[in-house]
Amino acid sequence: MNDQLYVIGVGGTGMRCLESFVHLCAIGMLDGQEINVLTLDTDAANGNLQRVRELINSYRSIKSGAVNDGGTPNQNTFFSSKLNYYHYHTNYMDQGTRDNYKNLSRVSESSAADENQMLSDLFLDKETVQVFDLQDGYRAQTHLGSQLMFHGLVEAARNLASGTNISDTEKSLGEFIDKLEQSGKNSRVFVFGSVFGGTGASSIPVLPSALREAIRIRSKGSDLDLKDVKFGSTLLTSYFQFTKPSDKQKQNTKDAVIASSAFFPLNSQAALQFYQGDPTVKSVYNKLYHIGWPLESRSVDSGKSETITGGANQTNSCHFVELVAACAALDFFTAPNVDTTGEANYVFRTGQYENGAFNFRASDLVGVEGNKDQKLISKLGAFLSLAHITLSKNKGGFGKKGFLGLKIHLENAKIYTFKNSITEADLEQLDLYMKKFGYSFTKDLEFKSGWIYQVRNSIAPGKFIFSNEAFAMSIKELESLDVGKLFEDPNYHWEATAKVLGMGGDTFQPWLKSLTDIEVNAEEHQLTHDKEKFIALLHDGIMQSQHSQK
């Protein structure tokens, strides 16, 4: 597989799927790959967008050497993929000129104003859809959203082609489509987004055509044959709900339309009918992954009196289905071949449901081909162990310096390889990433779930790979946690010290000891600087402990 890989996250749900995907890269599920990531949104201030942007920047910073270039791809270690980050958001900021459809389209200004207005009125309600504030997204108005997202990308391409008034975000989009144009038919593009909401649901159907059009305009004639490029996406149906908009909130013209999660199941049904029947989608996308949540949707904003339409406050917790979506991208990228002939393939998997909860196995997410399920268990378990080593054992989650403790441990064992080459700032970046992955405590000692805790919480009381103890939330429990015994299946537990009179029997001590004995093979891991070597050492130590399991 020599294809260039592209991931596009669209809208709030798309961003959270992307978040899961970045964590899969961090645990090392896509060894040796360089992945071009584009975030696409209408709302530059969206909390979920900010969160994934910070996550990607943190990832890139960890991988970078002397220059902040995102590093290089590595083999069989953590953070083994290189992520190139690009971003684009539509501009609906300018009040009075670009803040709603009416102002943006200027339907009433052209020579054919009457016809344009009538046509607009036919599809878009004049009193609500044409006047609501676009800054927070398309608010489940996908008929409007598809048109505007297409327009946004085309407008950006026109600005890029003319070379004038190019914003930073348009420049970034330009770099992304340049890469896509260069790799042409050797490209695999995976789009994350929901089919039931606003921005993602609006964009998924039109995105391939919009990218093609943008390339055509940008490079003045060059074309991207959509038949050759491999496109994949999620058909992610309703899985969360939020507070209904109050009448008072709806009285504001800007909020004339507010998405209501009560309609999400209906939206999902309509969208699936569309994806099942639309010839353009079926001919452009090669693989579509059906992902749904059959249980009652979880509320993402309990206790709120009004609907959060977007902005910095929209920071919904992560959900298991987003991890499933990320695994769909993994499947798409690691498949030896993607069939570009004929219509789209629709893919789904199922999980075991009993006693009112899902108990997922790794194979439910990634299958068993090529031992992918074993790899997921091993890598995710290894990374969670590293999270608990740094956050719980070394107290990084309680405001201390988790990774610095590991560096000092090596120096105490007279291993000075990293003494001058890795700074405290480098290690703080790793601490920061681990907090995003695992957990942290606020200054007031309030527990704050990171990604894996949120994902685990979304399927509780169901289970997935790890034991309940692995998700302890009190300081006392976390401090006494055994980092090598996180799995539900004891066959995966690490080697422990001998237990005498109820003392000993822990796995942390042998692991720390193993760090001082391991020689990291830089060539085998394709490492280019000491920070990568340090990470590979921690990885190898954990892998060795996993293999010495008792």
């Binding site: 054992k393 070394n394 610095l404 000092i408 064992a413 007279k414 942390f508 720390l512 000891k513």
Partner: protein
């Protein structure tokens, strides 16, 4: 037994006990681990205890009286000195040879 042999053997025994205790001391997590210092303290504590204990062993193994006792007492300081040197020297070598292990914290 001859003090020149017995007392260095006692020194080696002390060293082994120091190594055992050092290995029992757990690695501590965090950026300010105290465990290397604790191992160092153990080594030097036994270094100080070494002549005291060695002297006591020398006294206990001393013949009751006569020339044998005189000879024994005359050789005691030398044996004691050898015991201390052996403890220090072997401790240093052990620490440097096994520098990444817990006894590596001694020096």
């Amino acid at each position: 037994m001859n003090n020149y042999i017995l007392l260095p053997v006692v020194g080696v025994g002390m060293l082994l006990i120091a190594a055992l205790i050092s290995n029992i001391i757990k690695y501590e997590g965090g950026a300010n681990p105290k465990d290397p210092r604790k191992r160092k303290v153990v080594f030097w504590l036994f270094f100080v205890l070494n002549p005291v204990l060695t002297y006591a062993v020398g006294l206990m193994t001393s013949p009751a009286s006569g020339i044998a006792k005189t000879k024994h007492m005359d050789s005691l300081p030398v044996g004691l000195g050898i015991g201390v040197v052996v403890y220090l020297l072997l401790g240093f070598i052990l620490s440097k040879v096994m520098k990444t292990s817990k006894v590596g914290n001694w020096f």
